[in-house]
């Protein structure tokens, strides 16, 4: 074996620091450098730092981000989040595995080019099923797109190597307006970067008086890439699902360049374009939509933007623009004019409750920390949004980093903290990047750092990147993780307010909670409290995904009904099947059946029906979704994410999963449903943290509302036609003999018979759905 050059390790330790709290950062740097964590490198870290071998071995095996054996050159992360799961994420994984010729026990192809890995959730739920290759996200995958995606990725790699950076915004005299496009992860996944580049190129080439600007997400992910053209003092135009080809036409249409020579050149090149492409020119107006377009109006009308204020308008990391839009006014007022007690009272009057899931009154948490006498206090922002099916915090961090910083700073001032951390999950690189950039900008401008705005209040904020562990969303586990340990929750009390980070009083709030604070301080508690219900005030951001026509990020007043969210905002079920249930709150939440869609979305009501607000993922399910499979899916997730400390969670969730797997395989026993309920009660009653305590919810709520489906599985039937072991694929008389199914069957289960009816060999069939997805005659039947 080749000896590794470990000078990088030495440099990394020198750069990052040698305290145990740097463990994760050091490991992340080593992994980025070597592609995995070589043992020699870890041993070198131990010899250079205070980190012990026991600690580094424990930490590096706790977080799923870390690899201990070499990986292929590119990582393919296949999302199996809830929305991707219901849209066939597992089949996508299987297809990648087959396409790359990766054996079952391995994760890397023989050429060591690609390593495939399942990830809990990429947070791009409305692109489901989605995958990420290195930093590029691909969405709306189908089985037959898999080879195309691989080819596209490799071509892009080649192209990138050649392409030189063409610089930032065009500087031009006489700016006539802005061309806005969202570049958050999910929009990038549908090609926004290419459109952005094409727009910049077009502006540069045409000399148009326009600024191409990346903006925070409008939330209308179903229309992405969405380009908005805003003419100064004039109308604005939006183009949906724009392709790079349209860029030039958009620029020319709205920003007609003045110089004739250029105009001629433009005409010529456009002419040439027309000649060169074999397709006839498609007028861009075809994609144009007006703000009054009914779809968009509905999507926006019921919403109320507080955490997502100025959505789709401001550049996420442009500090000037944030300041122009009332940014840091609330902080300025707070630190200069208000006492901590006055701020906490205001937050209390607003009725703000924790947006991370449990809904604990925010002002009580703040007072608890304020009332502790301690020379050192911390403020922590929980950005470890790990729920599969949720992407609110990602979008907030990517689109409104300053607002979150401002909220956190007001909180820090209110509780007397002078240091703070943003704990952000590793799966959100763009959020980490934007938050870091925003913190740096704030430091430069005096919104953070020493003596903020002359008030005497000082605050240092830094990013602490997670490494792939859902349980770190639990506050005590999160603090352990920031301290550089395994993310194991501990028994409370003592609560973090008493003994938190490094045993000091610590305030931990969720991203969205902080994001609501500046608005409340600017607009007053009453304005916030007027929204929502008597116990759940204000608005809540939800990630709407699954079988929904218009998925995306929405912010609605508390108390809105599920029906309004799904039908009015989301446009109902995508694909014409019937609405069956909505999964609320991810692995801690439950399924609310269609018959209860009139209920109000607030903390108490959701809890009463057996679900939970959670962090706000709404995954819509239709009649093709099997509720036993959904329960199995969530248990597989929590079981995999359990820290493994407590008996009931470590083994109990595994045994529940065993039973659910048996049911889905048609091998259930009569006593299984009772045993599930027994285990669920035990786990719920004995868990010391939120993960274990809520893990049984998806099972209990599905048993409660869909017991008949469980019973059907006992009879070896899957009414939704979802559970592979309980269904068969066959070809109907509609078959036109096109042989496509035979060509695409990865298991050789279909013999090629041109112009004849095809047949599927049930013994060979692996129920992957390839045939169904390619059949042009809808002649594949599942029963």
């Amino acid at each position: 074996m080749v000896e590794l050059d470990l000078t990088f390790v030495t440099q990394t330790v020198e750069r990052i620091g040698n305290g145990p709290e740097n463990t994760l950062a050091i490991l992340q740097a080593i992994q980025e450098h070597f592609g995995y964590l070589p043992t020699e490198a870890l041993e070198r870290v131990c010899s250079l730092t205070e980190i012990t071998p026991a600690s580094i071995a424990g930490v590096s095996t706790f977080y799923s981000q870390f690899r201990h054996r070499p990986a292929g050159r590119h990582m393919i992360k296949i999302c199996i989040g809830t929305a991707c799961h219901v849209k066939g994420g597992q089949q996508i994984y299987d297809t990648f595995q087959r396409n790359l010729g990766i054996p079952d026990s391995e994760d890397t192809d023989p050429q060591e080019l690609f390593t495939i890995e399942k990830v809990a959730c990429l947070g791009c739920c409305m692109l489901a099923p989605a995958i990420q290759i290195d930093d590029i996200t691909y969405g709306h995958l189908t089985l037959d797109k898999v080879p195309i995606v691989l080819r596209d990725f490799l071509e892009q790699q080649k192209a990138q190597a050649q392409q030189a950076d063409d610089g930032a915004y065009i500087k031009s005299n006489g700016i006539l307006g802005e061309i806005r496009i969202c570049l958050d992860s999910s929009c990038v996944a549908v090609g926004s970067t290419k459109v952005y580049d094409a727009l910049k190129k077009a502006v540069k080439e045409t000399g148009a008086g326009a600024v191409v600007k990346s903006v925070g997400c409008s939330g209308m992910s179903f229309l992405a890439p969405l380009v908005e053209v805003v003419i100064a003092d004039g109308p604005s135009f939006r183009y949906a699902q724009v392709t790079p080809d349209n860029a030039r036409a958009i620029v020319l249409r709205h920003f007609n360049p003045k110089q004739i020579t250029r105009k001629i050149r433009n005409t010529i090149s456009t002419m040439l374009d027309k000649i060169l492409t074999d397709k006839a020119w498609e007028p861009v107006t075809r994609y144009s939509i007006d703000v009054r377009d009914q779809r968009v109006a509905d999507f926006l009308d019921k919403q109320k933007h507080i955490a997502t204020e100025h959505c789709g308008v401001i550049d996420p990391v442009d500090l000037d623009e944030y300041v122009r839009n009332d940014g840091f006014k609330a902080l300025k007022k707070s630190v200069n004019e208000l006492s901590p007690e006055q701020i906490i009272a205001e937050i209390g009057l607003a009725g703000l409750r924790g947006r991370g899931g449990a809904g604990f009154p925010t002002h009580l948490k703040w007072s608890a920390v304020l009332n502790r006498k301690s020379a050192k206090k911390y403020v922590v922002c929980n950005g470890d949004e790990g729920d599969p099916g949720a992407f609110m915090d990602r979008m907030l961090m990517e689109s409104y980093p300053y607002r979150i910083i401002e909220g956190a700073a007001i909180a820090a001032y209110s509780v007397g903290a002078d240091q703070g951390y943003f704990y952000i999950r590793a799966e959100y690189p763009l959020a980490i990047k934007r938050m870091s950039e925003a913190i740096n900008n704030c430091l430069k401008r005096g919104f953070l750092g020493d003596n903020i705005m002359g008030s005497g209040f000082s605050l240092q904020l830094e990013i602490s990147a997670g490494a792939g562990a859902f349980v770190c969303g639990e506050e005590t586990a999160l603090m352990a993780s920031i301290e550089g340990r395994r993310g194991m929750p501990r028994l409370r009390p003592p609560y973090p307010a008493v003994s938190g980070l490094w045993d000091q009083p610590t305030l931990i709030n969720n991203v969205e909670t902080f994001a609501a604070v500046p608005w409340i301080m600017r607009n007053g508690a009453d304005a916030f409290a007027q929204l929502g219900t008597s116990n759940s005030k204000g608005t809540k951001v939800f990630a709407l995904a699954g079988k929904i026509a218009r998925g995306g990020l929405i912010e609605v007043p508390m108390g809105i009904s599920i029906k309004e969210v799904i039908e009015d905002i989301g446009g109902g079920i995508d694909g014409g099947l019937r609405f069956k249930a909505v999964q609320v709150g991810g692995p801690s939440g439950g399924c609310v059946p269609a018959k209860l869609s009139h209920i109000s979305v607030d903390y108490e009501t959701l809890k009463d029906v057996g679900a939970m607000m959670g962090s706000g993922g709404l995954v819509v399910l239709d009649e093709s979704d099997c509720m036993v499979d959904i329960a199995r899916y969530f248990l597989e997730f929590t079981q995999n994410q359990s820290c493994g400390k407590c008996t009931f969670c470590r083994i109990g969730t595994r045994r529940m999963l065993d039973i659910l797997e048996r049911l889905c395989a048609g091998e259930g026993k009569k006593t299984d449903i009772d045993e599930l309920e027994h285990l669920a009660q035990m786990i719920r009653n004995t868990s010391i943290c939120g993960l274990g305590g809520t893990a049984p919810n998806p099972v209990l709520s599905t048993i409660k509302y869909f017991r008949d489906e469980y019973e059907a599985h006992l009879d070896r039937r899957c009414p939704a036609g979802r559970c592979r072991a309980l269904i068969t694929y066959s070809v109907t008389d509609d078959c036109i003999g096109c042989t496509l199914c035979a060509q695409h069957c990865p298991a050789d289960a279909i013999e090629m018979k041109p112009y004849e009816k095809h047949e599927i060999d049930p013994d060979k069939c692996i129920r992957c759905g390839s045939c169904k997805s390619v059949c042009p005659a809808e002649a594949i039947k599942i029963e």
């Binding site: 071998p53 706790f62 079981q639 995999n640 083994i651 595994r654 004995t686």
Partner: protein
């Protein structure tokens, strides 16, 4: 100071004290496995859960800080259910047999693995004590037993079963041929007399154990000599009479009196026996029609009707065992029955409740997973099963030694001190309630003083804390997460490198057989 009540008893404890501390102060015992005084409560096993202020939630007493005004409940149905469930879950992920499969299969439940280790260590006197604790006629059975133990011997999964029966015969033969064959010390006479009807294997075995317990036995048999089917129903070449006589002779040396050529009937009736003796054991073998009825005993299709646990018949003070009560004609079953009936009779005579033999808790690995048998083989002799020649002869000393080395030590190394087993028994946990994937059986044998079997670990982390506090440079750590979390030495170093200072402390603290001392026997 905080004042709280536990199970309606008031107690006052210092600030920061836990509920477990408070309970201890009151003398209330709360079961714990993962907790050890002097170390941080890891609140992992969840055995110590209690109910606080009537909440549905149960909290671990070891880590929950006692607070002023708390009302704690430490015992209730809900709590017992939760503890039982915790134990059942831990057992479902526990790759370990409390008792070796051979011992379970043996009708007499003789501690076969221990006997084998004693042979391997050359401690043959210890070995015969082990054997005779459960089998009164080992030289006899060593020749005629159908060997249910060998049918389940795990070694057979790898090559062939250990030759258990011949090893037992070897131990017994060596003992019989010695100058002073093993005679157990008998307890002081209890001045109680037991009449045993039938001098077959059941009656003889019962007499052996009753004599040891200080009860005088008189065996009545219609034949001239004792032995029953052993003497009159087995071929001489399989079981030479002198072997039978030698073992019966040892029982007579303990004080048993044999009265041959005596039928129970007109001359000497059951009523007479009941009058003259303090207890009667009917061990007449398969009863001829009318035999049992004439004694006033009820019958079933299997023979004399008894309480299956206590061997009591319908007549007070009259017990029945062996082929008289069951269809099985196995000699080892008969001997086992004699032992168990003797235990019940002992309870009866000493005025204790008659409950029969105590329930023995046993966790079983069950079916092995691919690759596990090789792990079992790690510390076992690799030679093939030995067959002595000529056929029918016993082992020589060397052969016995080699054969004994083949045993894989399936039985637990901490069968008594294992807390998981103790509490599983106490809470009536069912070891097979949950089926599914589990830890693999693994033995780490590099350490000179201990053996680490990670399949038996309950992930309490005590050893990790102990190693860290002891200043081990490598020590131990948790690796992985969730169901797959394991305790290992960092960077795949050996357990010997991980535990250079704290090995003894770790073994003593380990609540299961995961860490055990390396012993010769």
């Amino acid at each position: 100071m905080s004042k709280l009540t536990i199970d309606n008893h008031q107690v006052e404890v210092d600030d920061g004290a836990t509920i477990l501390d408070a309970a201890e102060k009151l003398g209330i015992e709360i079961p714990t496995m993962c907790f050890l005084r002097g170390y941080k409560a890891s609140t992992s096993c969840m055995l110590c859960v209690v109910k606080i202020n009537g909440s549905d939630k149960l909290l671990p007493a070891c880590g929950t800080i006692a607070q002023d005004g708390m009302t704690v409940e430490s015992e209730s149905d809900q709590i017992r259910q939760a503890r039982k469930a915790a134990l059942e879950l831990l057992l479902s992920d526990h790759a370990g047999d409390c008792i070796g499969p051979c011992q379970v299969a043996c009708s007499a439940h003789m501690n076969i693995p221990l006997m084998i280790r004693q042979i391997a260590a050359g401690k043959l006197r210890d070995a015969i004590v082990t054997v005779k604790k459960d089998i009164a006629l080992p030289a006899v059975l060593g020749r005629i037993c159908p060997k249910p133990c060998e049918q389940v011997c795990r070694r057979a999964t790898f090559d062939k079963a250990v030759s258990i029966c011949l090893l037992k015969r070897y131990v017994a033969d060596v003992d019989l041929q010695s100058d002073n064959p093993y005679l157990p010390a008998c307890k002081q006479s209890q001045n109680k007399r037991v009449a045993i009807i039938g001098a077959g294997p059941t009656g003889l075995a019962a007499a052996y154990y009753l004599q040891i317990d200080g009860y005088s036995c008189k065996i009545f048999d219609d034949h001239e000599n004792p032995g029953g089917m052993l003497r009159y129903g087995v071929l001489q070449e399989k079981l030479p009479i002198d072997i039978l006589d030698a073992e019966i002779n040892l029982i007579e040396k303990l004080g048993m009196i044999f009265k041959g050529q005596t039928q129970i009937g007109a001359a000497l009736s059951m009523k007479d026996l009941q009058k003259d003796f303090d207890a009667v054991l009917v061990a007449i073998g398969q009863p001829k029609p009318g035999d049992a009825e004439s004694m006033g005993l009820k019958t079933t299709s299997n023979g004399i009707e008894i309480n299956r646990k206590t061997y009591e018949t319908n007549l007070p003070g009259v017990f029945a065992a062996g082929a008289a009560v069951r269809k099985s004609k196995l000699a080892v079953r008969a001997v086992a029955d004699g032992k168990e009936a003797a235990a019940a009779i002992g309870q009866f005579l000493s005025g204790q409740p008659v409950t029969g033999s105590p329930y023995v808790f046993n966790n079983r690995i069950g079916k092995l997973v691919d690759g596990e048998i090789e792990r079992f083989m790690a510390d076992a002799g690799k030679s093939e099963r030995l067959t002595p020649s000529p056929e029918g002869s016993g082992f020589t000393d060397d052969q016995a030694n080699d054969e004994a080395a083949r045993c894989m030590h399936c039985d637990c190394r901490k069968p008594i001190s294992c807390k998981l087993r103790q509490y599983a028994r106490q809470y009536g946990a069912k070891p097979n309630r949950y089926k599914g994937p589990r830890r693999l059986f693994v033995q780490h044998l590099q350490h000179p003083g201990l053996i680490y079997e990670s399949g038996k670990c309950i992930s309490c982390g005590l050893c990790i804390q102990i190693a860290s506090q002891a200043g081990e440079s490598l020590g131990l750590t948790f690796v992985g997460r969730g169901f797959d979390v394991r305790v290992t030495v960092p960077f795949d170093h050996s357990i010997a490198e991980g535990l250079k200072l704290a090995a003894n402390q770790c073994v003593e603290a380990c609540p299961t057989g995961a860490l055990s001392f390396r012993k010769k026997t």
